[in-house]
């Protein structure tokens, strides 16, 4: 076996070049598929927060089904700033909430998706993004027309502990949020607290956390407070304009 330095240098350079070439070709070839998956997953999450597209798992042509449902129920989407003013130059679907939350409140672009059910009732859907224990947690919160009562939520995460923090994406956890309220009787924004099970009697502003998933639960709580809090002025304006 050849052992001299020239051979080693040549060998490692060739190896690196070949491996880099293979990986970049694969990444480029697969990118359109991956991007489509991400787009469909996002649309599916938005729909699931208002209890639509629930048969997606059984559908053979899942992508077409999701696109169809999205076109049918999501009637409007726009971006607002922290004062609730509409910004028509930005596409709501393309906004990355993670990036927006890093900016100061005044510079955030806040997307709003409007869904209309078959019976005409409207729901407002807001993407949320925060930090769990090991990585990001995110999801969608759908509010009823009063912009106060939660109609449904969808959460997901990248790397929370299976069986513990990862339980935030189960129906058992998510269903607790239905009917909870973001504002208290005096009109103050209080969001939803996620508390130790049994610590406080159930109320309009709290849900049970996950045993063993305390930090993830806190992450979800902070996420709801921070992200939905950015929409505060928008919520108030919308309510006042209706009265």
């Amino acid at each position: 076996m050849k052992q001299n330095n020239t051979y080693i240098f040549l060998y490692s350079s060739a190896m690196v070049v070949i491996v880099a070439a293979i990986l970049s070709v694969v990444a480029t070839v697969l990118r359109p598929y991956q991007e489509l998956n991400i787009e469909i997953a996002k649309k599916l999450d938005i729909l699931r927060s208002v209890e639509k597209a629930e048969q997606a798992q059984e559908m053979r042509d899942r992508n077409a089904y999701v696109e169809e449902e999205y076109a049918r129920y999501i009637v409007d989407s726009y971006v607002i700033d922290h004062l609730g003013e509409r910004r028509d130059d930005i596409d709501a679907f393309g906004v990355n909430v993670r990036e927006e939350m890093r900016k100061p409140l005044e510079e955030r672009n806040l997307p709003v998706f409007v869904a209309q059910d078959d019976d005409g009732s409207e729901y407002y859907i807001f993407p949320v993004h925060g930090r769990g224990l090991w990585g990001p947690v995110y999801g969608y919160v759908a509010l009823e027309g009063d912009l106060n009562t939660i109609f449904g939520v969808i959460f997901d995460h990248d790397s929370e502990t299976p069986g513990l923090g990862a339980e935030i994406n189960t129906a058992r956890f998510e269903n607790q949020f239905k009917g909870k309220k973001l504002f208290d009787e005096t009109g103050e924004f209080v969001s939803i607290s996620i508390i130790k099970p049994g610590a406080v009697p159930p109320g309009d502003h709290n849900v049970d956390g996950i045993s063993g998933g305390t930090i993830t639960s806190q992450g979800v709580e902070e996420m709801l407070y921070d992200v939905l809090g950015s929409y505060r002025t928008y919520f108030r304006n919308q309510k006042n304009s209706e009265i």
């Binding site: 076996m1 050849k2 052992q3 051979y7 080693i8 060998y11 490692s12 190896m15 690196v16 491996v19 293979i22 990986l23 694969v26 990444a27 697969l30 598929y33 991956q34 998956n37 991400i38 997953a41 090991w134 990585g135 997901d156 990248d158 790397s159 502990t161 299976p162 069986g163 513990l164 045993s211 063993g212």
Partner: protein
């Protein structure tokens, strides 16, 4: 050389390469390698099974590639070469999962990347593929990955059943009506130390049935 060439594909010796890692030379229970990922992914059955399959794929192909290159790899950088091969294969698996099995890849997330750090894979490259022909290396890789995989799956089965009361997310305990008579899930099973204790119990059972494995003093 000629004798080896004529050796049938599944000769006794080759079959042994495949089967000994399942029991006598099991990477987890006998060599006690790869414990780190056995802790991380065995809370639920599904990620454990997918990871086992991914490890079989990565380990089989890594062994084949290293075995093909074994005469060219410079001795002094062989560990780096092995790492590059494993890391590229893992990235490939990850990319393919993201493109065609997006849901599974979302569930596994970081665990796929963790295959790179699995010491069994590099151990087999170093100990076997560097000195053996392609076919035996392939069998050795698949055998060891399967030996690793079945332990993972058994551990995950018990941890999910006793810790979350489900099997493959199917609520077994609830269907059996155990909650109504006061049964509660053991939250401790979900925590990493219980994976070690479960592996320990498997080692105990295995040694009591397989006397060869007991060290003589």
């Amino acid at each position: 050389m000629n004798i080896i060439d004529k050796e049938p594909l599944f000769s006794t010796k080759n079959v042994k390469l495949l089967t000994t890692p399942l029991n006598d030379e099991n990477p987890i229970t006998v060599q006690v390698l790869g414990i780190c990922s056995a802790l991380a992914v065995t809370v639920k059955l599904e990620p454990a099974v997918v990871l086992a399959v991914a490890v079989v794929a990565v380990m089989g192909s890594a062994n084949v590639i290293i075995s093909l290159l074994r005469k060219t790899i410079p001795q002094r950088i062989r560990i780096i070469v092995q790492l590059v091969v494993i890391a590229s294969l893992v990235i490939l698996v990850d990319q393919v999962l993201k493109a065609f099995l997006y849901d599974v890849s979302r569930q596994l997330s970081v665990f796929v990347g963790l295959i790179i750090t699995n010491c069994i894979i590099m151990g087999r490259l170093e100990a076997f593929a560097l000195g053996n022909r392609v076919w035996p290396s392939f069998l050795d890789g698949v055998g060891n990955a399967a030996g690793y995989g079945w332990i993972l799956i058994v551990v995950a089965f018990f941890r999910e059943l006793l810790g979350s009361g489900t099997v493959w997310d199917y609520p077994v305990m609830e269907r059996l009506g155990l909650y109504t008579i006061g049964y509660e899930n053991n939250g401790f099973m979900i925590l990493p130390p219980m994976a070690l204790i479960t592996v320990g119990i498997i080692i105990w059972v295995q040694r009591s049935r397989n006397r060869k494995l007991i060290e003589s003093k």
